[in-house]
């Protein structure tokens, strides 16, 4: 059955298979000299890149040498090969010298391969008849003080590239249609903004959020710097828009379970975690007309189980059936399965009409197809108790900034009355510790700057001064990084308002067991003397780190991360929203610490980038897929199990078994080609004879 299906799928590709059959004798095994090499006429173009390359090696020597390489028909150099005149040089040389292949010795193919492929195409050749010799990133820049070594390496790199270019074949990218839908993972302010933009551009968008409500970190904040807008006031309209948008399918309390496919055609499986409570839609599907949760909260009132509310950083209780806060979207209750005792009180109070509660509901799996995806998984607070010298979780009156946000927020656990945890008394002296766990090279904290702690700590100082006359904030800092628009002005304002700034890191905090006051020890580096200060409350501006499940999510989508675990962009400057997986984009703080303006800007960028393939309607896939050389295939089937994408299958042909490739599924890794004991797999653009020619060119030379 499976075989028949494969046959059917690959039937229209008869032409390709036939072509391989015809070419097969030309494709030499390891050690054989392929025919193509004899006829190849390769042009070599050496780029100076200003002094980037020319400054570290002898370009003339490289040029002279290149003329002696077999199959080289033309050699030229130019100051900037990627410039318009530089590309014109290639264009003209191809036509004048009847070149069959092009080698550009310049920067990394990861940067300019597309540029020079276009130039090759304009010269009348197939764009895949181009090979790049990397003599900048992997040569001139890393051997700046060794011109001789760099020159030798450049010569070898060009020889290796020419060997490959002599054997390259015409390839044709596959155009595939793009599904007119997108997915956004994470519904904080970044995810919401991205989803709204996509939806407004007319694209069906699945917004997947792991918690029961959208809103993310921003909904936990009280005020935002430097404008002092109320965070909820500017966020809730967006939350409501997301909830209302016709193009957004909101999937809260959901996890991405698996991702298959490629740009334009991702098949994503979503796990809908059992809420235990039915939405009106779900109720209707079960035939309960007019039923489902309406957010009345009767169930919460009767629930006997009390748990800490994570939204309030554990400073307020919630029930086993709960909503995080009054402004949740969607307004649907959720049952915390871990703590629910199944007493049925909620079921009874909910009544026969709504019948919204189903204590035995189970996780469901939903499959959706999307063309592109945006990751907006955000950040978590670094577990600052690891820095034991500051006593977080040991001393009651040492809190994190996020706890401070909740305490001073009018909708928070204290209704906005700023009190300290030990005795509920308003503090008179408050110390703010900046860079708590950030810019920390001890190995315990994080080496990077968390970017928004300086600013929110200034805002906290302002809020104390404004709300509680007589309360004195002390800010212990290393540097105040107020780099954004109107940020420096805000810093001056807080200085004028009377906050005290002490430049120095806090070495130790001790608690007075009787008063629960805290003695802060630091080194005032401006006065160059040690100091101690007794305060009522200490607020740690803790570092941020990637959200807990970032690693799991990124692996599902095939996205890399930097050393700190933040998701890695395709290029930090020129492609900051893209990733190395085509069709997957990044928004917000999952990429690195970002304040709200930067987060929203990056979300809009990601939404724009993600909408391009969808609006274009099709994408071109690089034609690096595997092909079977049927004469050599022994039908052993080892490759079939090696393929991580189930792109290979054994089929009956002329009375024997041979392997067949489903091109649309093949991503071109070459794992099958690296294994095949008979050398029967031809990897487009990375074929065995091509790679062997490169190895031979390096080690055996072959100068004329």
């Amino acid at each position: 059955m499976a075989e028949r299906k494969t046959k059917k799928e690959t039937a229209p590709k008869k032409e390709t298979t036939a072509a391989v059959k015809k070419q097969a004798p030309k494709k030499a095994a390891i050690g054989e000299q392929p025919e193509a090499k004899k006829e190849a006429r390769v042009g070599v173009f050496i780029c100076h890149c200003g002094t980037n390359i020319a400054g570290s090696m002898d370009i003339n020597a490289v040029q002279e040498y290149s003329k002696s390489i077999p199959n080289v028909a033309y050699v030229d150099n130019y100051k900037y090969m990627c410039s318009m005149p530089g590309q014109a040089v290639i264009d003209k040389a191809i036509k004048d010298n009847k070149l069959t292949g092009v080698v550009v010795a310049a920067c990394s193919p990861r940067l300019h391969e597309p540029t020079f492929r276009t130039a090759t195409k304009e010269g009348g050749l197939n764009p895949f008849k181009f090979e790049m010799a990397n003599i900048r990133e992997q040569n001139s820049w890393v051997h700046m003080h060794d011109p001789e070594g760099a020159t030798d390496k450049a010569k070898d790199a060009i020889r290796i590239a020419v060997a490959k270019a002599s054997l390259l074949e015409d390839l044709f990218p596959k155009s595939v249609p793009v599904e007119r839908a997108a997915m956004v993972v994470g519904a904080g302010v970044a995810g919401m903004q991205a989803a709204l933009d996509l939806a407004n551009a007319g694209i069906k968008t699945y917004l997947v959020e792991k918690t029961p409500t959208i809103g993310g970190r921003m909904s936990q904040l009280d005020k935002t710097f430097p404008t002092l807008d109320c965070s909820q006031c500017i966020l809730t309209p967006k939350m409501v828009d997301v909830g209302r948008s016709e193009n957004i399918e909101l999937m809260t309390y959901c996890d991405v379970e698996s991702v298959e496919g490629y740009i334009g055609n991702f098949d994503v499986t979503i796990r809908k975690k059992a809420r235990g409570v039915l939405t009106p839609k779900e109720a209707e599907a079960r035939g309960i007309v007019g039923g489902g949760c309406n957010g009345c909260g009767d169930c919460e009132a009767v629930c006997p189980v009390v748990q800490p509310n994570t939204f309030e950083e554990g400073m307020k209780p919630r029930k086993a059936i709960y909503i995080q806060h009054p402004q949740v979207v969607p307004l649907i209750y959720t049952i915390d399965k871990e703590s629910c005792i199944k007493c049925d009180l909620c079921v009874k109070i909910c009544g026969d009409e709504k019948r919204a509660i189903d204590l035995n509901q189970e996780d469901e799996f939903v499959k959706v197809k999307v063309g592109t995806a945006i990751l907006a998984t955000g950040y978590d607070i670094f577990p600052i108790e690891n820095k034991t010298e500051w006593g977080y979780k040991r001393y009651e009156n040492v809190i994190t900034s996020l706890e401070f946000e909740r305490l001073i927020c009018a909708s928070g656990p204290t209704g906005g009355h700023m009190v300290r945890p030990s005795d509920g008394v308003a503090p008179k002296k408050v110390a703010f510790l900046l860079c708590a766990g950030s810019r920390d090279n001890t190995g315990i904290g994080k080496p990077y700057c968390s970017r928004f702690c300086c600013m929110y700590s200034l805002k906290h100082a302002h809020q104390l001064i404004e709300k509680m006359p007589g309360c004195q904030p002390y800010i212990f800092y290393m540097d105040i990084r107020s780099f954004g628009k109107m940020y420096e002005e805000f810093y001056y304002r807080i200085q004028d308002e009377g906050a005290k700034f002490i430049r120095g890191r806090v070495s130790n905090i001790l608690e007075d067991p009787a008063t629960k006051n805290l003695m802060v020890y630091a080194d005032d580096t401006l006065l160059d003397r040690p100091m101690k200060l007794e305060v009522d409350l200490v607020v740690l501006a803790a570092a941020v780190q990637p959200a807990a499940d970032t690693n799991r999510t990124r692996k599902l989508f095939g996205v890399s991360c930097s050393m700190d675990g933040w998701l890695l962009e395709a290029h930090p400057k020129l492609n900051p929203c893209g990733t190395t997986t085509a069709g997957v984009f990044l928004a917000g703080a999952c990429q690195g610490p970002k304040d709200i303006p930067d987060t929203v800007a990056s979300a809009e960028g990601a939404a724009s980038a993600a909408s391009i393939p969808i609006h274009t309607g099709h994408v071109e896939l690089e034609p690096y897929f595997a092909q079977c050389i049927e004469e050599k295939c022994a039908g052993c089937g080892m490759c079939v199990n090696l393929c991580p994408y189930t792109a290979l299958a054994l089929v009956e042909k002329d009375g024997r078994k041979v392997m067949q490739v489903t091109e649309a599924k093949c991503k071109g890794c070459g794992t099958c080609g690296g294994f095949c004991p008979g050398g029967a797999i031809w990897m487009n653009h990375f074929a065995t004879p091509q790679i062997v020619a490169q190895i031979d060119a390096f080690l055996l030379g072959g100068e004329q």
């Binding site: 990133e137 060794d146 930097s562 890695l568 190395t580 794992t671 690296g674 062997v692 190895i695 080690l699």
Partner: protein, 150 residues
């Protein structure tokens, strides 16, 4: 040490090892590019062939390099669990154990072949890897097979 200073100069006439590096496009090649951007300085003895994934590395490529006279071969890919193609690096690593055994059996030091895992964000590590690979091969001296090919 790989860093921002130039690596120490070799003495005149000293052994210059010929080392082949086969790098995966997504992690190690990108990491090597990042080392360039960061101007991390390392010895220039490794010549690079780019493949999409280390899974593409046929053991015969390695044997071909050694029979051609390479003094060392470096295969570098993504960290385990980070492969752009899910698991190509596992498969490559598995094969390399076999090749190492083979090298030992024919009397060639298996240290001449190394597999490393350098991600796209590890430019500084790339410098260290190259420095260390070059040092290892320098200490081993020219490959006995290289003498034969001459």
């Amino acid at each position: 040490m790989a860093g921002h200073e130039a690596p120490p100069k070799r003495e005149e006439g000293a052994f210059k090892p010929k080392i082949l590096g086969i790098l995966c496009n997504w992690c190690s090649y990108a990491g090597a590019d990042l080392a360039g951007g960061g101007r991390i300085q390392y010895p220039p003895d490794v010549r690079v062939v780019r493949v999409m994934c280390t899974g593409r590395v046929d053991p015969l490529f390695i044997m071909k390099a050694f029979t051609d006279g390479a003094d060392g071969v470096l295969i570098s890919g993504c960290h385990f669990g980070d492969c752009h193609y899910l698991e190509g690096n596992y498969k490559a690593a598995k094969r390399l154990f076999l090749v190492k055994n083979l090298l030992k059996n024919i009397g060639l030091e298996d240290k001449r072949l190394r597999m490393t895992f350098v991600s796209a964000s590890e430019g500084a590590k790339w410098g260290k890897v190259i420095t260390d690979v070059v040092k290892t091969v320098e200490e081993l001296g020219p490959s006995p097979l290289a003498e034969l090919t001459k």
